[in-house]
């Protein structure tokens, strides 16, 4: 479904590559977690699938198409087969939940009766039945993300991309969102989700692809989140936390008497 062949992405000349010779193959219907430290290239990976960016080297295939060499006017066709959700929901604040979801269909020219039938169905599926008339500001974060997911899947995409969809949510709410994504995945939709949420990754036990500085360092079928750096590294008896060069400190020397 998604296939990266030796993909490198360099944003600015001379800069460190955001992705470095990445080869990943995602099967139809798979659920894949993309993990890695901030700046490791997760969002870059997703934007290459969406063809918001083009690879500097290598090939990206999405649903059988060579995305890197896709001509501009075919990009919309590609994106109609993809759904995307983001950490910040990206709902239109001046439209109701129903209008937000309908918008995704309107702008690709779906007929009115299709929209009338599909939108309530999808809202019910994501657990927002009866909340279609609310404005985004009248929803909790979890509900807003559900609305965003509804918008992403309303055109029945083959692939759902999620960039830290639970990043702004508390653990309980996150769990609800994960159940929803899991349910969507079970209907046959391929899901690729970038995340920092180790609890979720450890709990779900799905395929995990770990990136580090743009390189795939782990690709495990039923993986966990992996090691996390300690939030407060053991600095020992240091007078100053987090001071420059605090890792290799020279022990204090007694002052010679004078």
């Amino acid at each position: 479904m998604i296939r990266f062949e030796n993909v490198s992405k360099v944003y600015a000349r001379g800069a460190r590559p955001a992705l470095d010779r990445v080869s990943v193959d995602v099967e139809r219907g798979e659920f894949v977690f993309l993990v890695g430290a901030s700046g490791s290239g997760k969002s870059t990976f997703l934007s290459l699938v969406l063809r918001e960016q083009r690879p500097t080297r290598g090939r990206v295939y999405v649903a059988g198409r060579d995305v890197a060499n896709l001509s501009g006017w075919r990009v919309p066709t590609l994106r109609r087969q993809l759904g995307v959700v983001f950490q910040d929901f990206r709902l239109l604040q001046n439209k109701t939940v129903h209008e937000n979801v309908a918008f995704a269909l309107q702008v690709i020219g779906k007929p009115r009766h299709v929209i009338r039938d599909t939108v309530p169905e999808v809202l019910e599926m994501v657990g927002l039945a009866g909340k279609g008339k609310r404005m985004p500001t009248e929803l909790s974060g979890g509900e807003q993300q559900r609305a965003a997911i509804a918008r992403a899947i309303v055109n029945r995409p083959q692939i759902l991309l999620a960039d830290e969809p639970t990043g702004n949510l508390d653990p309980t709410t996150s769990l609800g969102i994960m159940r929803l994504l899991d349910r969507i995945n079970r209907t046959g939709t391929t899901v690729v989700m970038a995340t920092h949420d180790d609890e979720i990754v450890n709990e779900m036990r799905r395929r995990v692809v770990e990136l580090s500085d743009g390189v795939v360092v782990r690709d495990e079928a039923r993986g966990g989140y992996g090691e996390r750096e300690a939030i407060l590294p053991d600095v020992g008896a240091s007078p100053v936390l987090d001071a420059p060069g605090s890792g290799t400190r020279v022990p204090a020397q007694p002052v010679r008497g004078s």
């Binding site: 501009g72 919309p76 239109l92 702008v107 690709i108």
Partner: protein
């Protein structure tokens, strides 16, 4: 569905950017008024030329009854023989310069006069006897007026040789200068209009960045994303052009038809019909302006 949706977007965009849209409407209105005024001035010149300029170039006014200041008229009203002698001179000495000659008798002059001024001229009631017969000459080359005048002036029976063009030349010059002025102002204003439409489309694109971002992500086509902006600019510009057409119509209706034509009525003026001929041109210019501005702006701000 698509159509209705696009229209909805257009109107919400127009509402959101009301001040800018009003500015675009006004600037296109003013600039196209100048364009239209220039076109009407040229039409006016065309009319004057059709009416006079090309028909009569030189009038040889013959001595009238009674006494005049001209010494060549000492013998009173021009006689048949004098007129025939003049025709002979024109036939022989001016055969190269004059292409056509015709005689306007006092009766014909009076008839033409009565047609123009059915109510008398400035309060005085004139008769056929107050009119003056003339020979009207059409020249092969309009520049030869001086030669013709030299040959015919001062001959017996000739009171004065008048270059009809001399009457119109300053008028034409004024009208042409006015046209140039209108064209210059129109050029500046059109530039302002393009810049303003560009800015408006850009503002509109920025204020709708979230929408276009979502549209791009869910796979809306480029045309679909850009169409509302295109239509917004075009609609504002067309509105401006219609206002310009309306303004010109009012100007012609009240200044020319109702006022000028009554006070100076021996001239053919532009009429409302001419405005209707110019107005579609203004709409076309407006659409072209909007298209030009959109072309420069949109690809930059709503790229896939």
């Amino acid at each position: 569905m698509r159509f209705q949706f696009v229209l909805g977007e257009v109107f919400s965009g127009l509402r959101r950017n009301t001040t800018m849209v009003v500015a675009v409407v006004l600037v296109t209105f003013v600039s196209l008024t100048f364009v239209g005024a220039g076109a009407l001035l040229q039409a006016q010149i065309g009319k004057l030329k059709d009416d006079w300029y090309d028909k009569v170039e030189v009038s040889v006014f013959l001595c009238p009854q009674g006494t005049t200041a001209a010494p060549s008229c000492a013998g009173g009203e021009a006689t048949e023989d004098q007129i025939e002698a003049l025709r002979e001179v024109i036939r022989t000495e001016l055969s190269g310069e004059v292409s056509k000659v015709w005689f306007e008798s006092k009766q014909q002059a009076f008839a033409a006069f009565e047609e123009r001024y059915p109510d008398g001229f400035q309060g005085t009631q004139l008769t056929e006897e107050d009119m003056q017969a003339s020979l009207r000459l059409k020249l092969t080359d309009a520049e030869q007026v001086a030669v013709v005048s030299d040959v015919l002036s001062g001959r017996d029976g000739v009171e004065v040789v008048a270059d009809q063009r001399a009457v119109f030349e300053p008028l034409f010059r004024t009208l042409n200068v006015a046209t140039l002025l209108a064209a210059g102002l129109a050029g500046v204003m059109l530039l302002a209009a393009v810049l303003l439409i560009t800015t408006t489309i850009r503002l509109s694109a920025v204020s709708r960045r979230k929408e276009t971002e979502i549209m791009r992500l869910v796979g809306a086509s480029n045309l679909f994303i850009q169409l509302p902006f295109l239509l917004e600019g075009a609609l504002a510009a067309v509105l401006g052009s219609l206002l310009a057409g309306g303004g010109l119509w009012l100007a012609v209706r009240f200044m020319v038809t109702d006022w000028l034509e009554r006070s100076v009525d021996w001239v053919a003026y532009v009429s409302e019909v001419d405005v209707f001929r110019v107005a579609p041109l203004l709409v076309v210019v407006a659409v072209a302006l909007a298209a030009l501005s959109s072309f420069f702006t949109l690809n930059r701000y709503t790229r896939i």
